[in-house]
Symmetry: C2
Subunit: 352 residues, 2 copies
Amino acid sequence: MTETIEAFLGRGRKATINDVARLAGVSKKTVSRVINNSPSVHARTRDDIAEIITRVGFRPDPQARGLAFRRALLIGLIYDNPNAQYIVNMQMGALDRLRGSGIELVVHPCTWHSETFLSELRDFLESQRPSGVIVLPPIAEDRQLLDLLEELNVPRVRVTARTSGDGNAAIGREIVSCDDIGCAEAGAHVAGLGHRRIGYIGGNPDYPSAHVRRHGFETGLAAHGAAIAPDLDEPGNYSFESGYAAARRLLRRPDRPTAIICANDEMAAGAYKAAFEADLRIPGDLTLIGFDDAPIADRLSPPLTTVRLPTRDMARMAADLLVSRPATADQTMTVPSALIVRGSSGAPKAGL
Amino acid sequence: MTETIEAFLGRGRKATINDVARLAGVSKKTVSRVINNSPSVHARTRDDIAEIITRVGFRPDPQARGLAFRRALLIGLIYDNPNAQYIVNMQMGALDRLRGSGIELVVHPCTWHSETFLSELRDFLESQRPSGVIVLPPIAEDRQLLDLLEELNVPRVRVTARTSGDGNAAIGREIVSCDDIGCAEAGAHVAGLGHRRIGYIGGNPDYPSAHVRRHGFETGLAAHGAAIAPDLDEPGNYSFESGYAAARRLLRRPDRPTAIICANDEMAAGAYKAAFEADLRIPGDLTLIGFDDAPIADRLSPPLTTVRLPTRDMARMAADLLVSRPATADQTMTVPSALIVRGSSGAPKAGL
DNA sequence: TAGCTTTATGACACCGGTTACCATATTATA
DNA sequence: TATAATATGGTAACCGGTGTCATAAAGCTA
């Protein structure tokens, strides 16, 4: 039978829906129904067609489907700060879900606050008409972007630090976020080790994540009767340089902290640099805590105690929301963060 | 006139080639010629049509074009080891070139040597029919993958460490590679600082890059009458762990090296860890050299002296080869590497 | 068994472009 | 001037699917 089919198709030609229809003795519309899992196909017919589909190795053309659907079988991944280390993780997570679904992931880094950022995105959305987009932080908070997605009616899932229930939830539909449990654990860990002179290097206050993380750390500290020292509370913006600068300021103080909690790993790496230059040993002279569990965390020496943000899981869930849920449903999912204790945290030296 | 057009199109409807043709009073075929820069259109006609196209904001539907062309307006980026830090750079580079071209980048990480790796790729290539693919190292060396691309006649550009002129050039057509000048500079740098007990942690010998880099380093050392000490020549596989393990072995030797050159930054980071644990100061007790100029290089303390591989440029050129060159031309491009001197290299202590 | 739903299927137009082929207008050559 | 060559534009078919709507077949009720 295989020879017949090959002869039928011709050498090297790929099977189309028409071929399947003719072989099955049905109309192409019925084959289309089978492809799209329409319930109104007789079980017998469906099985016959399915059998032929596998036999001839038919796979519907995404271009043609996209044209007819008026929606490309693509998911766009939109983000700024393309150099952030979590981007690759997020890509992997989304692809974990998309693999085998026939939907491809197209990456769309952009430059937030550039003049062309919105128009470029509009170009992409209008011409490609992706089936959906995943928007990563921090740009997931951009109001104009959300308005654009709303205007063009693009299914979307935002990944953000904002916990459910706050005001922002109304803006977009689907949101995947992360809780602050890991931060609380980290705060408890530091306080439990006996630290009392505790510094903090905060994230960019424009991003909700900065507040969520701080809140988590403070909660954990408070549970052990500790707190961020008001005079050791430094601003940062999530960059390596800002972490370095803030740590330098902290370590130059006469009454310097015995522990510094950083709102992300990049800034913690900056703090390593400041400690290195000040000839302070980690964790002997200084305990450091980060957030993200970025690849760099366990490359540092000693490896960094940090809070793991399950970026890959979050992106996988985001893709899942887009692919499997009805577009109308409002969905919010929250994943847990967790403390990872490594070598950068220890008890303060006696007398400090 | 604008009102007329809006009325003509109807509220919110996007202009199609038919609209443009009707407004211009020509056939859609003529408009199609203009879109595709066909020479056989009267200059006057062309300008008229172009003017209308911009006025109504017409952008041809990539799905429809792809369907007719039998080739999606997509470029696939194929790579394994998705966690490598250069991946994001490569993505950015390819997008630098693709932006505004109407071609999207779809990412396709895969697991080399998994059983399904080739079939998954075939699925992608056969069903999506991308306009081309860029294959990143190390998988760019996979023979079966190249055969598959050849069989399916997919335009491709490989990014690889292999320099032009060697045997492998015959396998694929377009290749973007990097020279080993930076490695030679690094070798000269280390030798010039006065080091003579020089250790080496090599890359995975299965990858051509390992040989190219070693060759470059050795050349630079030799120019100053130095060489890798035969008893300090350790194998590695580009991973952090392998770098750590190799460095530990080197540093435990009674006659330990005063400098270690590593075939990439990840392994150099592992060497930092080994040095930290052995309580050796960098660069006072030990000079370390890396390769890649990965993000981690200047996050380490002290920042790592390394060889910059212009990953972003390479990917931009690869995309350019796919987009602008005739598919038949055999192209090979080579970009320069360069030494970046930072804080991890210094003169050996007297007496060592 | 007639009459009415419900279910399964097919005919046909359509998504928005492109190519093949043909018709016509214009220019070049003898 | 007649004729061939060239430039340009039009028509129809096609790429490979999906939507709408009509209709045939089957199931249910009375």
